[in-house]
Symmetry: C2
Subunit: 247 residues, 2 copies
């Protein structure tokens, strides 16, 4: 009998932020699959698992190996940082699923970096928001910039995933330049690095300061909307409850 | 000594989707505060707590009572469905916090309905997405429509919170009419109702079908982007991994 393929959002990293449902899915699995960094976060916690890792760019190969483990009778947990569906592996797994009709797939959600990072910064996402990845590995850069500009025009709070990498060291600055053409340099922004992991750090700053911030691939970036304020150390987007105002 | 005020995202409802960190925050609290529906989800699980509920529209009163419990020495968990920051109470609590400097606030994130609902439908959020609430209680309707239209123009996947209520029975239809002016009627959409609770149901449908769907306040709505497809029973937005295509 074929095993079950679980696509599991493990949350930002620490055990306390992984749901019991996600924990149970990993426990039920014989094989732990995923990008090396995330699998390494879990190996100590689940020492009895067979481990299946591939490099970051070999997503399809990794997914097919996971399906083959399941087809061979071993349930497999394909683990994703944060949520399983937000820039995670759920989509590719379900695209491939019709080729492996004997394998049942279950997607287990998790706490995504937008929510986990927001909690560290305070409450930046209280109003309508847009989540945009700055990685152009799979998306044309012009699409990314267009979305960023439309999100600013709509006064969405914006959460940026993958703000930087070795090959894209200046993308966050380029994004900020586009935002600065539309928003005040005093717009409140925030960054969180290593959310829920050792070395977690955060900072609330202005859009002008964000432009020169050196983000790395472990950083999540938040750009407030026109109402977002700094309250003490926190980044807070009011929703309008307080004075009954509309908007 | 003052108690701690925890603002806790409990996830969509079932215990298996509440993080250990959220569970621990509730256990550490003497008082359980929140909107009645969410507190009722937790009363059985935490029977020894003092309960503080107010009606849905009395958010500020509820927050002030929670601060006063903490100021009086009792730690309090203000519970929110899904995440604490996505249309939750974290923002208002942090807006009021400077008035209660003796009370420490901690925001505990959770699995928001966008992620939990997406996992039920398959993988609709795999690409950049926008989260928009259709409630005009605190936001002018024209702001909501503008955001919806800009999100469609940017080809974002769109997740709609609060798609309907007794007073706003036709808002989802109105939203779909605006989307139909910009997107094909065949655009793939999905709804999930009672996510992670008894009576959970979901359905993948076209935008044209969504227009006439009777959503209620326990429904979360997903509108795919131009690439979103139906694969078997699932709603899937490809990210482009598979054939190395860009976009």
């Amino acid at each position: 009998m074929a095993g079950i393929l679980y696509v599991v959002g493990i949350g930002p990293g620490e055990e306390a932020q992984m749901t019991p449902q996600a924990d149970e899915a990993v426990r039920q699995s014989q094989v732990l699959a995923g990008y090396t960094v995330y699998v390494d976060l879990l190996r100590e916690r689940y020492p009895d698992k067979e481990v299946l890792t591939t490099a970051m760019t070999q997503e399809e190969k990794r997914c097919r190996l996971a399906f083959e483990c399941c087809a061979g009778g071993r349930s497999t947990a394909m683990v994703c940082s944060g949520d399983a569906g937000v820039y995670g592996m759920a989509g590719l797994i379900l695209e491939l699923a019709p080729e492996y009709p004997e394998v049942a797939v279950r997607v287990i959600p998790g706490v995504t970096a937008a929510c986990a990072g927001a909690a560290v910064l305070g409450a930046p996402l209280m109003h309508d928001f847009a989540v945009i990845s700055l990685s152009d590995r799979l998306t044309p850069m012009e699409t990314i910039w267009k979305r960023l500009e439309l999100a600013a025009e709509g006064d969405f709070v914006i959460c940026l995933y993958n703000p930087s990498s070795k090959a894209r060291g200046d993308y966050l600055s380029m994004a900020c330049d586009r935002l600065l053409a539309r928003c005040s340099g005093e717009r409140i922004c925030g960054i969180v690095r290593n959310i829920g992991r050792q070395g977690q750090e955060y900072r609330v700053m202005t859009l002008r300061e964000l432009r020169d911030w050196k983000a790395d691939m472990f950083t999540t970036v938040f750009v407030g909307n026109s109402q977002t304020r700094r309250i003490g150390d926190y980044m807070v987007t009011p929703r309008g409850y307080r004075h009954g105002q509309r908007g």
